[in-house]
């Protein structure tokens, strides 16, 4: 079992190194990830939202519905913790 785990780990590492060999180099300004959608945010956030911080503009305006979901996830985790450890827990 331990041998299998070690083989799986090394295989996973090889897979990651092999998969990232096809990615653009770090710092490449022309990488596909930098050419789609993110220039829109950089160019339009100042005039459309009016906040200099682009991260805040995307988080709070363009993707605010997503952020609402994230906040709900955090809240749900808190409520679940209260239910797991709250009233009705056995004392011994």
């Amino acid at each position: 079992m331990r041998v299998l785990s070690v083989i799986a780990m090394l295989g996973f590492a090889g897979l990651v190194v092999y998969a990232t060999s096809a990615l653009p180099l770090r710092g490449d300004p022309d990488a596909p990830a930098h050419r789609y959608l993110s220039p829109y945010y950089v160019e339009r956030s100042a005039s459309e939202v009016g906040t200099p911080n682009i991260v805040t503009a995307v988080l709070g305006d363009y993707r605010s519905y997503d952020t609402l979901g994230e906040t709900a996830v955090i809240f749900t985790a808190g409520v679940a913790l209260l239910m797991v450890l709250g009233r009705g827990r056995k004392r011994d």
């Binding site: 906040t51 200099p52 991260v55 605010s64 952020t67 709900a72 955090i74 809240f75 808190g78 450890l85």
Partner: protein, 154 residues
């Protein structure tokens, strides 16, 4: 965990020198989150750090908010967010479409103006900060067992 540490040095440094400045810094991060690095999630985490430090160093009597207060804060944070989203719907907008809010845009210090949308963004950042602070602080209380009188909380 519920007893004060008992050391006057720990008590003084935590109460006078650290907690007020941590809270001040958290509000700076929250309010400044639109003009520079920062925002609701970070401010909530820093506020939760202040709450946890007050519990560790000062004990039950001098904590900033009670466990129930933190839970209410978490609920209120999510409500602030959701209601900020509902508000524009009364003025012909869509959910979370802050631009429709009937707030007059005034002159400001950031780019020489404050837009209605940035006010809406600040409102939801405030909700996020309240929610994160409440959830993380309440989690600390329940995990350390400070809710109960006993000390064997695992």
């Amino acid at each position: 965990m519920t007893d004060p540490h008992g050391s006057i040095i720990v008590n003084f440094i935590a109460r006078i020198m650290m907690i007020p400045f941590i809270i001040l810094y958290a509000f700076y991060v929250l309010v400044h989150g639109e003009a520079g690095p920062g925002g609701g999630f970070q401010a909530g985490a820093v506020l939760a750090a202040a709450v946890i430090l007050s519990r560790l160093a000062l004990g039950r009597e001098q904590r900033i908010v009670s466990t129930g207060g933190l839970v209410i804060l978490a609920v209120a944070g999510l409500l602030v967010y959701a209601l900020t989203g509902v508000a524009p719907m009364f003025f012909g907008g869509e959910y979370l479409d802050y631009g429709r809010l009937p707030i007059p845009a005034t002159d400001g210090i950031v780019f020489g103006r404050v837009t209605v949308r940035s006010i809406g963004v600040f409102a939801i950042e405030l909700g996020v900060a309240m929610g994160v602070m409440g959830v993380l602080g309440a989690m600390f209380d329940y995990l350390t067992g400070a809710e109960w009188s006993g000390s064997d909380a695992g």
